[in-house]
């Protein structure tokens, strides 16, 4: 009833959720078998930053939006240069794209019966 089948593969979210609940239960079980002698409030519960002290300037620690995926964006720099050049922000360019696509669609529709 709640599963779907593509005729090729199948997907049942309830079964999947149950499976994950089971995996979670096992993980919780393993965790509960861990050390019981950990002390809260001592050095053991502090953040471990390569042995350095936790900086007092907490706001400076936040990784800002632009810093994420810097490497990926840098790696795709050539692609992004072209694609961002496409979004000029000038309305007449947008219309030019429209007219171009219109022409292309015409050509395809007229050539292919």
């Amino acid at each position: 009833m709640n599963g779907i089948s593509s005729g090729f593969g199948a997907w049942n979210p309830i079964a999947w959720t149950l499976l994950f609940a089971g995996i979670f239960a096992v993980a919780a079980l393993v965790r509960s078998l861990g050390r019981a002698d950990a002390k809260r409030g001592s050095e053991q519960s502090k953040v471990f930053l390569s042995g350095n002290d936790e900086p007092s300037d907490a706001a400076g620690l936040h990784v800002r939006g632009d810093h994420l995926y810097w490497g990926l964006v840098e790696g795709l720099a050539g692609y992004y240069r072209r694609v961002q050049a496409m979004h000029t922000g000038v309305i007449t360019d947008y219309v030019a794209w429209f007219v171009g696509v219109l022409g292309l669609v015409f050509v395809i529709l007229v050539l292919v019966r």
Partner: protein
């Protein structure tokens, strides 16, 4: 060329002229004029579509004898003119506000939203 085709040629010319204006002019007001030109071309096309040679207006009040032109395209044209009025008014008021904010009507300079 059949003289009956002249309105269609003119309509096509108007559309092409409007597209040219839209593509190659940079002033926002001129762009609005370009849109209006395309609109007029399409309206002319619709009216010409309904015309029958030597037809009379499709009104029964005191109608003389004779073939009538098709009323439907005229109704379509009227609707399209009304819509055109609204869109042109809206576009022009946007142009006014853009001019107030940016101090220019040059489409090439109004591109803070990009990328």
């Amino acid at each position: 060329m059949n003289v009956g085709n002249v309105p269609f040629v003119v309509a096509a010319l108007l559309v092409v002229l409007g597209l040219y204006t839209f593509l190659f002019k940079r002033n926002l007001i001129k762009l609005v004029i370009g849109i209006s030109l395309i609109e007029t071309g399409v309206n002319l096309f619709l009216v010409a579509l309904g015309y029958r040679t030597a037809g009379i207006a499709p009104i029964y009040t005191l109608a003389p004898a004779g073939r009538m032109v098709l009323p439907t395209p005229q109704a379509l044209t009227l609707t399209s003119i009304v819509i055109g009025l609204a869109t042109t008014a809206l576009l022009l008021s946007f142009a006014v506000f853009v001019y107030r904010h940016y101090g220019t009507l040059d489409a090439g300079k109004i591109k803070e939203l990009q990328g």
